[in-house]
């Protein structure tokens, strides 16, 4: 087997490292006498073309995954009429959206209305350029890759606002403002979770983070379980996925910020949400699960295939939470971020900084310290979560007689719940039918 691998290595058809193929093309150009800038432009276009090809395939496949897998999780069949197992359903969806009329309200801001779906899509695609797809396969090897990812995630809030404002519709604007509040709130725990990782590996370069995991034979999810959980939850809030998709819940706010979009503009919003989810899954697969490195398996199977497999493993986690959990209220979401996730992320940073200090100051070998860190961090994460809920959470009541509101956040207080009426008997009193949305 290894003889076979050494025979085919470094040829242009060695697809374990796609840079062989692009290097072969670039050498042809150089031998034919092309100038330096042409080589650079062609290599950039080849890399970008590969990423866009992956994005196109992912957007189509993920539509099927969302509908079929969520359907099976909810004990119902998903799409099953078009093609075997409904596999041609996304094509039908795309054709339907393309042939619909792209309506635009007459009083809407034309330019702002049209720019919003594009501004929502572009950061999600650009993020995939800084990720390492293989040992030599990074399109843009930035030294500040992690901060670049965070910057691109923060541009999504603006795109949502332009969509909601440009529709000239009060429900769209209302939904957009709630989404901005949620996105800005959930940026903080996600930044702090990734900060813990950057502290531990000592570099912000994503290729170096994967090489760190390769060097110490340790996917970082084992040694940092709490940042994995915090980043997963805050990303599912930033991506407007259930359980945090109150911005676009058709049953509550008539579709939120994309109520006025129809046809392929709405299709672009929908595809952009899936692409953003794929981008976040790719980031989590890179920094937490090891990217293209998988314990020497990447010498046989191409690393980028393993990377795509890990992307879909994390994406399956997102789809699993979507199919299982109900939707949260806006005050529950915001209180959860400010009162629970942000303090946890701060405590995690203190613990990680102490561990890194111990590692660098005492100079003990990594083989001794890292298993200890894995055990300590895992136990600490479990203890922190369970202890916080036990001692600092609200008291659990088996038959609640009034809903639990979080003060200061825009939930209208119902007069019926202000003080108990004299003739009410507590549990037997039916609550008012106009419940809080």
């Amino acid at each position: 087997m290894s003889a076979l691998l050494t025979i085919i290595s470094r040829n242009w058809y060695d697809i374990r490292d796609l840079s062989n193929l692009s290097n072969a093309i670039l050498e042809r150009i150089r031998d034919a006498g092309g100038p330096g800038w042409l080589v650079y432009v062609v290599s950039a276009l080849l890399g970008a073309g590969g990423i866009v090809a992956f994005i196109g395939g992912a957007a189509i496949i993920n539509i099927w995954i969302e509908r079929r897998v969520v359907g099976r999780m909810q004990s119902r069949l998903g799409p099953n009429r078009l093609g075997p197992f409904g596999l041609l359903q996304p094509i039908a969806d795309a054709i339907k959206l393309m042939q619909k009329e792209v309506l635009q309200p007459r009083v809407a801001d034309a330019l702002v209305f049209s720019v919003a779906p594009i501004a929502f899509t572009v950061p999600g695609i650009v993020v995939l350029a800084v990720l390492p797809w293989g040992r030599n396969m990074t399109l843009a090897d930035l030294d500040v890759g992690v901060v670049f990812i965070l910057a691109m995630s923060s541009l999504a809030a603006l795109a949502v606002f332009t969509g909601g404002y440009g529709s000239n519709n009060k429900y769209a604007l209302f939904g957009a403002m709630r989404v901005i509040a949620m996105l800005v709130t959930y940026e903080i725990p996600s930044v702090l979770a990734l900060l813990g990782l950057v502290l531990f590996t000592g570099t912000m370069n994503l290729a170096s983070i994967v090489l760190f995991q390769e060097k110490y034979w340790l996917p970082l999810v084992l040694v940092q379980p709490l940042p994995f959980l915090i980043y997963f939850i805050s990303s599912s809030a930033e991506l407007n996925r259930t359980p945090a998709d109150l911005a676009e819940a058709e049953s509550e706010i008539a579709g939120g910020y994309h109520v006025e979009y129809s046809g392929m503009k709405f299709g672009l919003f929908y595809a952009a949400e899936l692409i953003n989810c794929v981008a976040i899954s790719a980031i989590m697969a890179t920094v937490f699960l090891g990217g293209w490195w998988t314990y020497k398996l990447d010498e046989i199977v191409p690393g980028w295939m393993l990377f795509i497999g890990k992307i879909y493993a994390v994406y399956f986690l997102f789809v699993w939470t979507r199919g299982t959990l109900p939707r949260f209220r806006i005050d529950q979401l915001l209180a959860f971020a400010w009162k629970w996730m942000t303090p946890m992320a701060f405590i995690n940073i203190v613990v990680v900084a102490a561990e890194v200090l111990i590692w660098t100051e005492t100079g003990w070998s990594a083989g001794l310290l890292l298993p200890v860190y894995v055990a300590v961090n895992g136990a600490f994460a479990v203890a922190l979560i369970v202890g916080w809920v036990r001692f600092m959470g609200p008291k659990f009541s088996r038959f609640p007689d009034r809903p639990r509101f979080y003060s200061g956040i825009d939930v209208p207080s119902l007069p019926a719940y202000r003080q108990p009426a004299p003739e009410a008997t507590g549990i037997g009193t039916a609550p008012s039918s106009t419940g809080v949305a």
Partner: protein, 169 residues
């Protein structure tokens, strides 16, 4: 791989688009459009930082300005009752032009009076690590004072906006 002409072309393209967006911020009538053009200006300034090889500052510019400060401006405009679409015709346009002209004169004078030296292109240290070292060795006191200032601002914002709710946990 990138030679000098590509850098110069990139700089002029980014600078031209940034100046155009900045002019549109002042010239457009609708206030929300002005905020969106301001966001494009921020991204253009980040591009100029990239031309200068300041990678961390460029990404921090996008993260902080285009990501957070623009949201702040958006909320400020949305929560102000008078921020109408046709609210840009005021009597203060004359004095504003005079003030802007004076500021322009000061900046042009400073640009012409400075002794610009073309530095030799040496080895670029990794900017994020250098910034971190600068925060913790010479500039530690301003760093701590800035964080105290931020905490004071947050506490002030919460005090200003809280309301006494007596029926909530």
């Amino acid at each position: 791989m990138i030679d000098q002409t590509a850098v110069v072309v990139a700089f002029y393209v980014i600078a031209a688009s940034t100046v155009a967006c900045a002019l549109m911020v002042a010239a457009v009538r609708n206030l929300v459009h002005a905020v969106l053009f301001l966001v494009l200006t921020f991204v253009g300034v980040a591009g100029i930082y990239v031309v200068l090889s300041a990678d961390f500052v460029a990404v921090a510019q996008v993260l902080i300005y285009a990501g957070a400060i623009s949201v702040l401006l958006t909320f400020a405009i949305m929560l102000t009752p008078g921020a109408d679409r046709r609210n840009s015709e005021t009597v203060y346009q004359g004095p504003a032009f005079v003030l802007a002209g004076l500021l322009l004169a000061v900046i042009v004078f400073v640009v012409y009076d400075t002794d610009w030296r073309i530095a030799g292109r040496g080895e670029f240290a990794v900017t994020a690590a250098e910034l971190g070292r600068a925060f913790f060795k010479p500039y530690i006191v301003p760093f701590e004072v800035a964080s105290v200032l931020l905490v004071a601002a947050m506490v002030g914002a919460i005090v200003l906006t809280r309301e006494e709710a007596d029926d909530a946990f």
